[in-house]
């Protein structure tokens, strides 16, 4: 349950890619979160106008106060401010954590198969950081789709998570790239996912079209719908 709005302060802004930044927040009264949850951010202008958006939490529960990673949507009202202008000491309000469906706890075990499209990686990263901080030995695999190499979030941290990361690029691959260079499709999922008999926990997050086609392909490959949890970040908001 989310409770009311809490006063928060930006502790640090970390640029992640040309279009995304991580904001580490200080939130007195924060009750902690579960990996995969998000929080609502409310900004109030001097004239009293407010705008509210929901962002996935990127940090692990073990990290304490939450960090969010925000992707700038060009015609957005909130994300350009958070990515380009926010700085340490800025005040905003947060509500949360919210959501109890799209979550994974180390105690649930594995195998864990995560499929992320673009900034859909953010809640999955919270799960992977949690897995690492909790010392979980759950087998985990991440299939990550990005347009170009420079769009990949947490590129330096991904190889240190102790999991298998399979990357695909949909627009532009690095020179000499021999890995996948197409959208995630059924053949790729058949190759990368744990077999249905292993009964993996599957979390899929990304744009609506991405999430729905991946979920449909996973079901067609024999994965039980009850093991697949999806989160669409859609194209609204900003």
């Amino acid at each position: 349950m989310a409770g009311g709005w809490l006063a928060a302060e930006v502790r640090e802004v970390v640029p992640e890619t040309p279009s995304a930044a991580t904001l580490r927040l200080d939130v007195p009264g924060w009750r902690g979160h579960t990996a995969g949850q998000h929080l609502d951010v409310r900004l109030t202008a001097e004239d009293g106008y407010t705008a509210q958006r929901s962002y996935s939490i990127a940090s692990a529960p073990e990290d304490g106060d939450p960090a969010i990673t925000v992707e700038r949507l060009e015609d957005g009202e909130v994300s350009p401010y958070l990515v380009d202008e926010a700085q340490a000491g800025d005040r905003l309000e947060v509500r949360g954590p919210v959501g109890g469906w799209f979550v994974w706890l180390a105690s649930r075990g594995g195998p864990l198969f995560l499929v992320g499209g673009g900034s859909g990686l953010v809640p999955l990263m919270s799960m992977l950081r949690h897995r690492q901080r909790a010392g979980s030995d759950a087998e985990a695999r991440l299939l990550l789709s990005a347009r170009r190499p420079q769009d990949v979030l947490y590129a330096n941290e991904l190889p240190t998570l102790g999991i298998e990361v399979v990357q695909t690029y949909t627009r532009e691959a690095p020179e000499g790239w021999t890995g996948h260079a197409r959208r995630v499709d059924r053949a790729m999922l058949a190759e990368v996912a744990f077999p249905p008999q292993a009964r993996p926990w599957i979390f899929v997050c990304g744009p609506t079209g991405f999430v729905e086609s991946v979920a449909e392909d996973l079901v067609a490959l024999g994965h039980h719908a009850s093991r697949i949890r999806t989160e669409r970040f859609g194209a609204t908001g900003g």
Binding site: M1, G100, P207, T208, E231, T236
Partner: protein
């Protein structure tokens, strides 16, 4: 932008649902009054780009819940849901 790209899911409405129900709702299971499908609220389709928020059944696309803020008060229309198990 077509309607498919505007479709979100119950996770996107979690903050609002918490505000109304005062319990964690995305892991609650709702039965669609239209087709009888039972879905976790986190998997219900959500359209939030209009003046209100519309939740639709992922099985039959029927409207299960609608929420709107009218003159500062939140109005919930839940005729499309048969029951919710928390």
């Amino acid at each position: 932008m077509d309607a498919d790209e505007l479709r979100l899911d119950g996770n996107a409405a979690a903050g609002m649902l918490d505000e109304i129900f005062r319990v964690e709702v995305t892991s609650a299971v709702a039965t669609c009054a239209g087709c009888g499908a039972r879905e976790a609220m986190g998997e219900v389709h959500v359209y939030a780009h209009g003046p209100g928020v519309v939740l639709r059944c992922p099985g039959c696309d029927a409207v299960v819940m609608r929420f709107a803020r009218i003159r500062g008060r939140l109005v919930a229309d839940m005729r499309g849901v048969r029951d919710v198990t928390f």
